[in-house]
């Protein structure tokens, strides 16, 4: 399981981030103090670090400057939204910079991007009798290969990565078609219908009124 270190001094926000990464299926470890976090980062074995900037004892920027274990990717999560801070954070070697307040799905999406970049995500997902191989771009249902269009494939992977999470059409548009895509949400409805038909997901890929869709956990 992927382990994420959450460095955040406000206990409520720390709890929020922990709950959010849990949705994505990651294990979160919270640390509320800069100096302690530095120690943990140096010796601990984490796949990703979510780092606040304003921390007691040692600021996030300082931690980044002093750390020697630079293999682990870092995402800054901070209330400082000025461009200079952003630039400074990224210059110090952070992979991304998220400004508070943020949405849960946004945080998850950014974590995924980073993990995919450093190749810590899985290549093969299973969901019930469906087997998806991201590397080979193939999808098998009950051992039979199913042909999916590239977009349908990406939508399916996104849903499997976020099981039991209600996903709005906007979120899906942004994740699969890109932020700049200004298409209608009808496009999504059509893709969902196709997925339901091809993979027999009518019962499990449910519509949530006024919000979007959700892929429910496969019943064993």
């Amino acid at each position: 399981m992927i382990k994420i270190l959450i460095v955040e001094d406000d206990p409520n926000i720390a709890k929020l981030v922990e709950a959010t990464v849990a949705i994505g299926g990651y294990e979160g470890v919270v640390c509320g103090n800069g100096a302690e976090a530095f120690e943990i980062m140096e010796h601990g074995n984490f796949d990703l670090i979510l780092l606040d900037v304003m921390l007691p004892d040692m600021s996030g920027f300082e931690i980044m400057q002093r750390r020697t274990n630079t293999q682990v990717p870092v995402i800054f999560i901070t209330a400082k939204q000025e461009l200079t801070d952003k630039v400074r954070g990224l210059r110090l070697g952070a992979e991304d910079y998220i400004v508070k307040p943020f949405e849960a799905m946004e945080l998850l999406a950014r974590i995924e991007v980073i993990l995919r970049r450093v190749k810590r995500t899985e290549n093969v997902y299973t969901y019930g009798d469906i087997l998806v191989n991201v590397e080979e771009h193939t999808c098998k249902c009950a051992g039979k290969e199913i042909y999916l269009t590239p977009k349908e494939f990406e939508v399916l992977v996104f849903f499997i990565q976020h099981k039991d999470v209600a996903i709005s059409r906007d979120r899906l548009l942004a994740a699969v078609w890109g932020f700049e895509y200004e298409g209608e949400s009808r496009t999504i409805d059509i893709h969902i219908q196709q997925l339901r038909k091809k993979l027999n997901l009518r019962e499990r890929l449910v519509t949530i009124p006024k919000l979007g869709y959700r892929l429910e956990s496969a019943k064993e």
């Binding site: 406000d10 926000i13 709950a19 307040p101």
Partner: protein
Amino acid sequence: MRLWQKVFLYTLILVMLAVSMTSILLLKNSFSLALEQRKQSVYSEHAFVITSFKSMMITERLKENVVVLDEDALQGFMADTFGGNQKKSGIQFCDTEGQHVYSNKEMEVPQGLLEAVQETGKNYMQVEGYQLYIASSESMEGKTYYVITENDITDVVEIHENMLRQILAISMGCAMVIAFILLIVVKMLLHPLQRINEGTRAIAQGSYEKRIPVRGHDEVSELAYNMNRMAWAVEQNVRALEDVAEDRKHFIDNLSHEMKTPLTSILGFSDLLQIKKDISEESRIEYAGIIKEEASRMRTLSGKLMELITVGEANLEWKEEDMQQLFEEIGISLKVITDNHHMKFSCVSEPGMLCVDRELFKSLLYNLVDNAVKASKEGANIQVEGHFEQREFCIRVADEGVGIPESEIAKITQAFYMVDKARSRASGGAGLGLALCAEIISLHQGTLQFESRLGEGTSVLIRMKGGKCHA
């Protein structure tokens, strides 16, 4: 055109004008003087010629043995007398009708000469080109003749023209020399102006700390001095504005941070509640509790912020209040809070009047006691005491709480500054209480002072001017 060019050009033109005017006037004067002299000599020559001609005529009459010479004889005599004479001056005789009788050489008699003689009956002179003509009417042998002599004055005119040419040349030379000297002088005089110009340009472009070097005691150095004073004033104002802007920016930064922290929790947890499918009852209550807690934090923050913003506005009610009474009144409402935390509390003052805004004064004491309560443990003492000292009213709020580290004391009245963030958050503080107090005290023209020892307690000392003691 540049100033030095203008000064140079105008001065040069004026000088040249003055020099040439004077020399031309002088020249004209000397020319007319010379001409006048020549006229005198010509005049006497003319008279002499005529007198000698007349006396020679008498001799001729005796020689011819006639009483009166007839016209032809007279003409012949004229030719004899003047014909051989190849002098420069010509002579002409005319009769009363102006008809030519005799002339010793070709002569152009100027117009109006004879008429003038006829009218005045006297001698008349006229200058025509390089010749000076003089005419007179003479009676000879019973008839009136006009005698006109022509005199060459080329020398006089030529001298005049030569001098004119010379003066022109000299003037030109002078102009060159003057121009050269003037150029140097003007440049030298206006050089400091150039320096001031460069200095002010630099200042205008934003380097307000620049100063223009001041040299000498003339108007230009005065200008430089005043420019420097102006730059100094501008620099002061700009710096003050920058400070204000910096403070404001700092305040806004802190404010946005303080707002974002609870906002992140509120938005994040409500987001989770919305998108997650199965949430245990336990988590649901926890998430809702956090949302509520953070929302109330925002409420506290906005309330304090409103207080801080409105405190500086003009709707204050200044009134003389009796301090003993006011302290008693405030003490009653504050005791509710301290009793909740099981603390010993007293709030007393000497009797006496002080001009205050009642609501602000209450808010001041409330905030200070609130801080004291937050810093103290259960059962601790909190004392609020007021007394008059000379012309000041002193308030002391003392607690037995955790105290403030010495290095932090200077910063604690800054908005959003918290010595112990976690502790302050836990007790619902927004970091604005002391900023508000400082604002209220400055409106009352007072001073604020802290005495603190770590672990032993803090005393807040306030001095307000203008108090009057009853006792």
